[in-house]
């Protein structure tokens, strides 16, 4: 038997509920049309990430990709479902073991302006966690931080500076140094290059690829930018309104997309090779996750929708080796 995958999600669901307050409950009793609001941010997602892989998670706003990333990183607990790390349920772990496990997954955030404490020096931002968790391993604190900064492409001479003294790209490097300082083997990047200029974005993407080889890292790379995902990922997962609609290796997704949503998404992406062309249009808007359409979530916008799509939720199933898609059309 092969080793257990690095990460396995089974039926992960996350709901956000807004309970009615006292006045709301009274109003409801009296027959006012108020009800509890429940957002199904993530709805029954299965996902496997093997060691050394880069998995790209793609979707538009409100599709639950960030919520999923946060659950993987252990920032949010799932409402239902299990997260297995190296084959072990992370909820079953306790004490030191649970702490160890948490450290092994780190997250890099989108906004390098909001994710760094403005009142701490870089030295403390990067060095605090390894010191607290006793990871210095005999090294002198300053030397350890220097090494982390150098690895992320920062000059250690700047370690006594505050975040506001750095540019956006450099701040993102600080975020990367902070994440890597606790020696994780799995990194969740949530739109980690979305806020950067093109030339800086290329630098950070190259850094991600270099670090992957140097440190043998595994990435879950969350992005709305298909160009970036295509470049970096081995496998791509496409989400729409809380559900996975398609999953396959990168080449298959971009060459032979199966799900109508994947196809319209790929058609909408502006590409530098396309000149003066008519932009193709997916009709309609992304529905609110507060009140998603019944059946297949994509059916109101789908050019191929049938009667069945309005009532029955399509199952995500294998349609070709390594390619899974959730569309009723594959049954015909």
């Amino acid at each position: 038997m092969t080793a257990a995958p690095m990460l396995e999600l089974r039926g992960i669901t996350r709901r956000f509920e807004k309970k009615l307050d006292f006045a709301g409950r009274i109003a409801q009793r009296l027959g006012a049309p108020v009800r509890e609001e429940v957002v199904h941010a993530v709805d029954g997602v299965d996902l496997t990430v093997r060691k050394g892989e880069v998995v790209g998670l793609v979707g538009e706003s409100g599709c639950g990709k960030s919520t999923l990333g946060r659950m993987v990183a252990g920032i949010l607990p799932p409402t239902e479902g299990t997260i297995l790390r190296d084959g072990r349920d992370i909820k079953a772990l306790t004490g030191a073991e649970a702490r160890q496990m948490k450290l092994r997954t780190q997250m890099i955030f989108q906004d390098p302006y909001a994710s760094l404490n403005p009142r701490l020096r870089v030295l403390d931002i990067v060095g605090e966690a390894p010191r607290v968790h006793g990871l210095l391993g005999g090294a002198i604190f300053d030397d350890y931080v220097d090494e982390q900064m150098r690895r992320a492409g920062l000059d250690p001479a700047f370690k006594r500076r505050y975040p506001h003294q750095f540019s956006g790209g450099q701040r993102q490097r600080i975020g990367i140094a902070r994440a890597l300082a606790v020696k994780p083997d799995f990194i969740v990047c949530d739109e980690a290059v979305a806020a950067l200029d093109v030339s800086i974005q290329a630098q950070i993407l190259n850094l991600f690829m270099r670090l992957r080889q140097e440190l043998d890292l595994t990435y879950l790379f969350i992005s709305h930018d298909l160009g970036v995902v295509e470049h970096l990922s081995d496998r791509v997962v496409i989400m729409y309104l809380g559900r996975v609609v398609e999953e396959a290796d990168t080449e298959t997704v971009f060459r032979w997309p199966n799900h109508p949503y994947t196809r319209s998404l790929l058609d909408s992406v502006p590409r530098i090779e396309n000149r003066k062309r008519a932009f193709s249009v997916v009709k309609g808007e992304i529905p609110s996750p507060l009140n998603p359409p019944a059946g297949c979530h994509f059916h109101p916008r789908c050019p191929l929708a049938m009667e069945r799509c309005r009532v029955e939720v399509p199952k995500l199933r294998e349609i070709a080796p390594g390619q899974r898609s959730a569309c009723h059309l594959n049954d015909q």
Binding site: V198, S199, L205, E230, V282
Partner: protein
């Protein structure tokens, strides 16, 4: 040949701050023909937005237009009084901003805002103005415009809000629209919808457009001409196909090389080293010198904009004139 709708000549917009004079726009020249889309591309701090704000006369102190001219249908916008400018703005020239939540008034219904805009420039009855507002909403693809007119901005999604902002810009059928990153905040499928609408509008109404963006891929599909800005100056301009296929300036070259889809999957991206210099402290000579692989002693002298190849203006001493690498 007919005169262009807009001709900007040697525009200089400077900000007089306590720390010194920031030359946000320093000698920018370009022109936009009737019904054409001009893509103004650059990274943060390159001065692309300030160029747009200068055209529509919205540069706030401590900034002001320090030199040059902006000829719009024969009139120099840089020399107009505030009153004359107000007469043009929203009427003959309109602007679309990046964030529609900032441009729409959150406490007024859409109809109030649109009717006000119509009546600001035209003496028409309330009913006629409402009619115009409704037709324009329909034109930008908002379903059931009659009911949507009565909604507040927060009741619209991001994409719909941007459509409303575009509809307001179109109310007086302007000859020129300055669009500052209008689709940057939108999702891909919604961005595709907006781009398709804009394309249709420019083709049918003959409106000229300046599309300011950092995204080369959007400009590739939308614009006729393109101007690339770096540190307050245009470093290269020409027809879209020409510039993107055969970039002459090393900065444009590097920028296109950094786009992930142009590179082979998994390989290191061709990156531009370093970062954009501070406008307060520009290097002597060519501003791109410190990041440029082709820089030499000669670059210490300020390069001038020159037509190196017919129809292609470049500000560089060592342009990429050799045959482009096979992609």
């Amino acid at each position: 040949m007919t005169a262009p709708t807009l001709e900007v000549r040697d525009l200089q917009t400077h900000f007089f701050t306590r720390a010194g004079v920031v030359k946000a726009v320093d000698g920018v020249s370009f022109s936009v023909g009737r019904g054409k889309v001009m893509g103004l591309v650059g990274e943060s701090g390159s001065g692309k937005s300030v160029t747009g704000f200068s055209i529509i006369g919205l540069v706030d102190p401590p900034g002001r237009i320090a030199g040059g001219s902006i000829l719009f249908q024969g009139r120099d916008l840089a020399k107009l009084s505030e009153e004359e400018m107000r007469d043009l703005r929203g009427n003959r020239i309109a602007m679309i901003f990046q964030d529609p939540m900032m441009t729409l008034n959150p406490v007024l219904r859409i109809d109030t805002q649109m009717i006000e805009t119509v009546q600001a420039h035209k003496k028409v009855s309330h009913e006629e103005a409402r009619q115009r507002a409704r037709d324009t909403l329909g034109m930008v693809g908002i379903p059931s415009p009659d009911e949507r007119l009565k909604a507040y901005p927060h009741q619209f999604s991001g994409g719909m809000r941007q459509r409303v902002a575009i509809a307001i810009a179109l109310l007086h059928e302007p000859q020129l629209i300055v669009a500052d990153e209008p689709t940057t905040a939108l999702d891909v499928t919604i961005q595709g919808q907006i781009l398709a609408e804009v394309q249709k509008l420019c083709a049918t109404t003959g409106t000229s457009m300046i599309w300011i963006t950092h995204d080369l891929s959007v400009v590739a599909g939308l614009a006729d001409d393109i101007a690339v800005m770096y540190a307050g100056r245009i470093v290269e301009k020409g027809a879209v196909g020409e510039v993107l296929d055969k970039p002459l300036h090393p900065y444009t070259h590097g920028l296109i090389g950094s786009v992930p889809s142009r590179n082979k999957r998994g390989e290191a991206l061709r990156q531009i080293p370093g970062m954009t210099p501070s406008l307060l402290n520009l290097p002597q000579g060519c501003a791109f010198r410190a990041r440029c692989p082709r820089a030499s002693e000669a670059c210490l002298a300020e390069p001038i904009m020159a037509e190196i190849v017919p129809g292609r203006d470049v500000r560089c001493i060592h342009p990429h004139l050799e045959a482009p690498e096979a992609a």
